[in-house]
């Protein structure tokens, strides 16, 4: 049976793959949305931090023999700590200024991090083997689904929904949201606002690093892995609504699927389709599909 010239088997396979890619988009844009939505910082360094997460996993494995499962925990903490240092030392000085300075600073940081790693490791990429428990796959009839990719979908759904729940439905999240709307009042209630901001930035960075660890076994661990991805992730966040956690989750998965479908019917446009959608959304509803204008 065929739909538009593509056998349904292949079509569903592509949809599934799109969902997998969407998981990465969602995970990455989640971190960005947390940082922008709550802190109003445009974190261009996100791609480099994703790369740092993958490299951290690589070093943990090759130098310390620490495996994948532990890396999932350790790498985000380590990179998150780096993120906290960045926030404390540099970003905190820019809060009184226009957001665009934050953008430029994080852009510069991304150049530094990526340039340094490129100098040390070249660009060909380093291998990271798949954890044995997740190797192999099962034949679903319409495609062969590697176990690891299934794990990626499940894990990112859990993390995304978990984060959304914490921010939108718990007291901690409420404090955070209040603190960004009106830091002075919240501070006068005795909540240590600067520390919350720092930790939130660290959390967003940790999310990026987590995505990096999960990407390591399937993409190459290379210094450039974040640099073109970051632009796409920005598009996802903008489309979803720059402050909306739910928006970036839904858009991430959705755009992954759309990109997958484009790859089937018109692969040359698979890079552009996200930007076309971004431009359209920005024109019609600049706050994004789920966002509210600030």
């Amino acid at each position: 049976m065929e739909i538009l010239g593509i056998p349904t088997q292949a079509l569903f396979g592509q949809l599934l793959i799109g969902l997998i890619n969407g998981s990465f988009y969602a995970l990455l844009s989640l971190g960005l949305a947390v940082i922008f939505g709550l802190l109003n910082i445009i974190n261009f360094t996100h791609g480099a931090q994703y790369m740092l997460g993958a490299f951290a996993a690589y070093f943990l494995l090759s130098k310390l023999g620490v495996g994948y499962w532990w890396s999932l925990l350790i790498a985000p903490i380590v990179v998150g700590a780096v993120g906290i240092a960045i926030e404390r030392l540099m970003l905190a000085r820019l809060y009184k200024l226009d957001h665009l300075y934050g953008l430029l600073l994080t852009f510069g940081l991304a150049l530094i991090i990526q340039g340094t790693f490129r100098h040390e490791f070249g660009s060909a990429g380093l291998p990271y083997s798949m954890p044995a428990e997740l190797a192999g796959g099962r034949n679903l009839g319409f495609m062969f689904l590697p176990n690891y990719r299934a794990w990626v979908i499940v894990a990112s759904l859990i993390i995304c929904l978990g984060t959304w729940y914490v921010i939108e439905r718990t007291k901690l999240g409420a404090y955070l949201r209040a603190a960004t709307e009106n830091p002075q009042i919240v501070q006068s209630f005795g909540v240590n606002v600067p520390r919350m901001i720092t930790l939130t930035y660290g959390f967003g960075v940790a999310l990026a690093a987590l995505a990096g660890v999960m990407a390591a076994p399937i993409y190459q661990v290379s210094p450039q892995m974040g640099s073109d991805l970051i632009i796409v992730v920005f598009a996802v966040v903008v489309i979803g609504g720059m402050g909306s956690i739910l928006g970036s989750i839904v858009t991430g998965f959705g755009l992954g699927v759309i990109e997958g479908l484009t790859k089937v019917f018109y692969p040359e446009a698979s890079n552009t389709v996200i930007f076309i959608i971004m431009a359209i959304v920005l024109l019609i509803k600049p706050a994004g599909l789920f966002g509210t204008q600030k």
């Binding site: 665009l100 600073l105 340039g115 340094t116 490129r118 920005f234 903008v238 720059m242 930007f275």
Partner: protein, 320 residues
């Protein structure tokens, strides 16, 4: 949205120092080819014009575009194609390239102007990415090869531009002409209104100015002059490539302007000269160039927001 601080209150005789600086700058560029490598100086001039055009938009208009590479690239491809495939003489090839960039400026401007601040930056980025991917795939651009072996031709059918002296003079005239144009625009009533819009848009609207039209005009002018720089560059290097349309080029022009001083007249020229020189002379260091650029970004944003020329201007308490 008063984003970029610039001390600026011009009046006729207070501008004398600017005229002096302009003459000094012209003198430097005229004498330079005797001591420095002429092709390098031509590259500096093309990028200086590009940065000045970009600065018009952000320094004076308050609009940060993250997609200016699309104008540089479009003009480069257009003029290269005109010169190589259609056999245009150089002046028409450059005009054609500039026209192409201007047209693109109108189209993208109409779309982008509707939004402000970060959304404006993101729209320009999205549009530039679309243009980039389009150029990546259309056959006429030659994709990764670019359009190579672009003939410089004979200016007006008479002057052979393969002579280094002739080419240099042409590039200098174009650069200085573009610079003077920007200077005039900035000091004109139009420029004043633009600054007013940048400082406080709602007040400008309440004063009765059609804000969108001013912003669009500034955008198109910036696009046109970026295009002029790109079209000229294609003839200087006899090559139009994807680098000119890639988003990292958009980042570089931001860097040049930031380093030189946003909103200053001479800042972009200084910034362009430094960045181009750095890339040239540090090219042996490979990836370190990226790192150095990043460091400059960080340092400028944290401690050096006025930029080089901005700091000098602040020290002598006169606008530059």
């Amino acid at each position: 949205m008063a984003a970029i601080p610039t001390p600026y209150t011009p009046s006729a005789d207070k501008l004398r120092h600017q005229r002096i600086a302009m003459i000094a700058m012209a003198a430097i560029f005229i004498v330079a080819p005797l001591v420095a490598y002429p092709v390098f100086m031509m590259k500096v001039m093309c990028f200086a014009l590009f940065a000045c055009a970009f600065n018009l938009l952000i320094g004076f208009g308050g609009l940060l575009s993250f997609g200016h590479a699309m104008f540089l690239g479009t003009a480069g491809y257009a003029s290269a194609h005109a010169a190589k495939v259609w056999g245009f003489t150089p002046e028409f090839a450059i005009l054609f390239g500039t026209a192409a960039a201007t047209a693109l400026g109108v189209l993208t401007g109409l779309l982008a102007i509707r939004r402000q601040g970060i959304y404006f930056a993101m729209i320009t980025l999205a549009l530039a990415q679309m243009i980039f991917f389009f150029y990546l795939q259309t056959p006429f651009t030659g994709g990764e090869d670019g359009i190579q072996s672009v003939p410089r031709g004979k200016l007006f059918g008479l002057i052979d531009l393969n002579q280094p002296f002739a080419m240099y003079t042409l590039v200098f005239v174009i650069f200085f002409g573009g610079f003077l144009l920007i200077y005039r625009v900035v000091h004109s009533p139009f420029g004043q209104v633009l600054k007013a819009i940048r400082e406080n848009e709602s007040r400008a609207i309440s004063l009765g100015y059609d804000v969108d039209r001013y912003k669009l005009l500034a955008f198109v002018l910036s696009a046109a002059l970026s295009g002029l720089a790109g079209a000229t560059k294609a003839l200087v290097f006899q090559l139009a490539s994807l680098t000119d349309a890639h988003w990292s080029m958009s980042g570089e022009v931001v860097l040049m302007t930031l380093l030189g001083g946003l909103g200053t007249i001479f800042g972009p020229v200084a910034g362009a000269a430094i960045i181009v020189a750095m890339e040239n002379y540090l090219s042996q260091l490979g990836a370190w160039v990226s790192v150095v650029q990043g460091v400059i970004f960080v340092v400028c944003v944290l401690a050096f927001r006025r930029g080089l020329i901005g700091e000098i201007a602040n020290a002598i308490r006169k606008p530059l």
